[in-house]
Symmetry: C2
Subunit: 349 residues, 2 copies
C-alpha cells in the first residue's frame, strides 16, 4: 500500500475520532467563493446567490464496489469523488462542493486513511471542488465510503433524464467498455497471484483500460464543451451501470423509444483487442459493463452540425416513439430489444 | 421486527437496486418550495434564492452506533434523520432537505428496509424536510446508514461554534444524560434475555429515558423559540457526544475558558433514579453520556432576561478567559478541569 514497508504506521486509535478529522481536514483548501464555512462546525455553510443547487450522493462498499487487493487506496479515494462529480456533470451543472464520510475497521492505519484522503484531495483539486465536511466512524468490517456532491447551475441549463423527444439524436462521449475490461484484467492477475505469489502481474498493453477502471474521470470537460458549442442536451445521464441501463432510464423517464446502432458504439482499440483475448462480445461489454462514467445525452437534430466534427462525441442512435420500443440495431440490421443487464448490487450476493 | 411473524417476507434480490429505490421513494412527498427536483435523476435540484445553504452529513454503523437486537428499525430510521437535522439546528438554521443512503446485507428483507424507511419518512414529516435522494447498496456485513441534511438560513442568523465571548452565559436546552441511561437499561435487559429468553423485558418506569435513547428529537423548537425571543446565540453546538466534549469544542474554537456549575446541570427525575439504581454518578453521565441531542449555546449576558423564565432553557455556567481553563465547579465549590470523555468511535474496539 505504501512504498516504504518499514515505515512506522500509526493505529487510528492513537488519534481518536476528533483527532483523525482534524488531521485529515487540515489539507482541505477552500477555493470556491460560495464556501462560507467548510469543515469544523455542525454543518458547512454555502452561498449560491441566484444559482440553483444540485445534490448527489453515493456509497462505495468494500467487497461490493471495490476490492482492495488490487485497488490502491489513493485511486479509490479519487474514484469515490469522481463518481459523484460525474452525477453533477450529468445534470449539466458545475460541481462545487463535496462531503466525504468513511467508516473503517481497525485493520486500517492512519497512513492508509491518509492515502485514501490524498486521492480524494487530488480529485477535489482536479475538479476544482471544495471538501466541506464529512464524518469518520469505525466499522466492524471493511471500508465504506459515502460521498455527497453539490453543484450549481442556472435553472435553464439543468438537464434532466426526462426531456428526450422522439427523433432526438442519442450521443455518447468518449468510448465504452474499457472500465469493465480493465476489471477483468485485474481479476485475472489476482487469480494468477493467488496461484503463484512470486509472479509479477503483467499489465503492459492494458494501461488504458486499467486506468479506466482504477482512475476514471468525470466528463466535466464535455459539459463545458457543450456550453461552448451552444448545445443544450434535451436529456442527460452518466454511464455508471452500462449503456443499456442508462438508455432505459432516459427512455422510461422521457416516455420515448430508441434505436441504438451497434456499429456506432465507440470502442477503444485496446478494448477491442482485450475482448478478443477474453473471447467476449464487445457490444455486450459496452451495453452492460458500466463504470465508464461517460455522458449519454440526447440533442435536437438541428444541433447536429455543432457536434458532428467533435472527436469526443459520437452519435449512436436516435430516439423514437414510445411504442417503437428500445432497440439495438445490429450490424446485420436486425432489431433486438434492449434489456437492462447493468450492474445490480443486490442480485449477485 | 414485524408484528405478524407469518407474513411472507420479500428478499431484496427480487426487486434489484432500481426496483428498491423506486419502491422506497414513491412515498417521499415534496413539500419544500425550494425542491425543484427530488429523487429520480442523477442529482436533486434545489433553489435557495438569497438564503445561505447549510450542509451536514453523518454515518450510522450497525454494531458501532446501534444494536438491532433492541433498536426497532423504524426508530433507527427516525433517529438517523434526527441526528442530522440536529446538526442543522445547531447552526441556528432551518432544516429543509435530506438524502438517505443505506448499505445492507442480504439478511434484510424488503419489509425490514420498509420499516427503516418508514421511520425516516416519519422524521422527514415531523420536521418538514424533503427526502430528495440517496443511494442503496449491498454490504457484506450489517447495515450502514448515511444521511446528509441541508438547511437554509439568513447569513446573519447562522451560529458557529467559534463566537463565544468571555462572560457569555452557557445555556443548555432540555435535560441531559437520559439517552445514555436508556441505553444502559436496554443493555441490561438484553443480558437478562440472553440468560432466559422467556423473561419478558420489564421496561416500565424507564419510558422517558428509553425514548430519549430510541427516539431522540432535534431541538428545532428551541431554534424557533430563540428567534421568537429575539436571542441570537453567540455560539451553538448540539450534544451528540456528551456535554464535556461539546463545551471543549466551543471553548477551543472560540478561544475561551468556561466555568460549568455541577448543581445547575438539568436532569430528569427518572434519570436521577436510574443513576442511583445503577450506582453511577449523574454528573458523569451528563458530561460523558451523549446522544441527548439538546442544544448547547452561549448568549450575551444582556439577553439573560429574555430566557430566564423559560422552562426549556437552563443557564449552566459562563464563559471565561482562555487562560482560566475549562472547569467544572462542583457542589463542594471546587474547580476540576473538564476533559473530553465523550463517545469515541475509534478507541473502543
Amino acid at each position: 500500500m505504501l512504498e516504504d514497508k518499514n515505515k512506522k504506521l500509526t493505529p487510528l486509535s492513537e488519534l481518536g475520532e476528533f483527532g483523525l478529522i482534524e488531521h485529515l481536514s487540515k489539507n482541505f483548501k477552500i477555493k470556491q467563493k460560495s464556501t462560507i464555512k467548510g469543515v469544523g462546525d455542525d454543518a458547512a455553510v454555502l452561498d449560491f446567490e441566484n444559482k440553483k443547487v444540485v445534490v448527489s450522493t453515493d456509497f462505495l462498499v468494500e467487497g461490493v464496489h471495490f476490492d482492495l487487493s488490487y485497488v490502491p487506496l489513493k485511486h479509490l479515494g479519487y474514484k469515490a469523488v469522481v463518481v459523484n462529480i460525474s452525477d453533477i456533470c450529468a445534470m449539466n451543472a458545475n460541481p462545487t462542493h463535496i462531503t466525504v464520510s468513511i467508516a473503517i475497521s481497525n485493520r486500517f492505519t492512519l497512513e492508509a486513511v491518509e492515502e485514501l484522503y490524498s486521492g480524494m484531495e487530488l480529485a477535489a483539486k482536479q475538479y476544482g471542488v471544495d471538501i466541506i465536511g464529512g464524518d469518520t466512524s469505525s466499522s466492524n468490517k471493511g471500508l465504506i465510503i459515502s460521498v455527497t456532491a453539490i453543484g450549481e447551475a442556472n435553472e435553464t441549463d439543468i438537464t434532466y433524464r426526462n426531456g428526450a423527444n422522439s427523433n432526438d439524436l442519442l450521443v455518447v462521449s468518449g468510448d465504452l467498455g474499457g472500465a469493465y475490461l480493465g476489471l477483468q484484467v485485474l481479476e485475472r492477475e489476482k487469480e494468477v497471484f493467488k496461484v503463484n505469489p512470486n509472479n509479477q502481474p503483467d499489465l503492459s498493453g492494458y494501461s488504458y483500460i486499467i486506468e479506466r477502471q482504477l482512475k476514471p474521470e468525470a466528463r466535466k470537460d464535455v459539459v463545458e464543451l457543450l456550453k461552448a458549442l451552444n448545445v443544450k442536451p434535451t436529456s442527460m445521464i452518466d454511464i455508471s451501470d452500462g449503456l443499456s441501463s442508462e438508455i432505459i432510464h432516459i427512455c422510461r423517464q422521457s416516455k420515448t423509444g430508441c434505436n441504438l446502432y451497434e456499429e456506432k458504439i465507440p470502442l477503444d482499440p485496446q478494448s477491442i483487442l482485450t475482448c478478443e483475448e477474453f473471447n467476449i462480445d464487445s457490444t455486450t461489454v459496452a451495453l452492460s459493463g458500466g463504470e465508464d462514467y461517460e455522458l449519454l445525452f440526447t440533442i435536437s437534430q438541428e444541433d447536429y452540425p455543432k457536434i458532428k466534427a467533435n472527436p469526443n462525441l459520437t452519435v449512436i442512435g436516435y430516439m423514437a416513439d414510445e411504442n417503437e420500443g428500445i432497440n439495438l440495431v445490429t450490424r446485420e440490421n436486425t432489431k433486438i430489444p434492449i434489456t437492462a443487464r447493468g450492474w445490480n448490487a443486490l442480485k449477485d450476493d
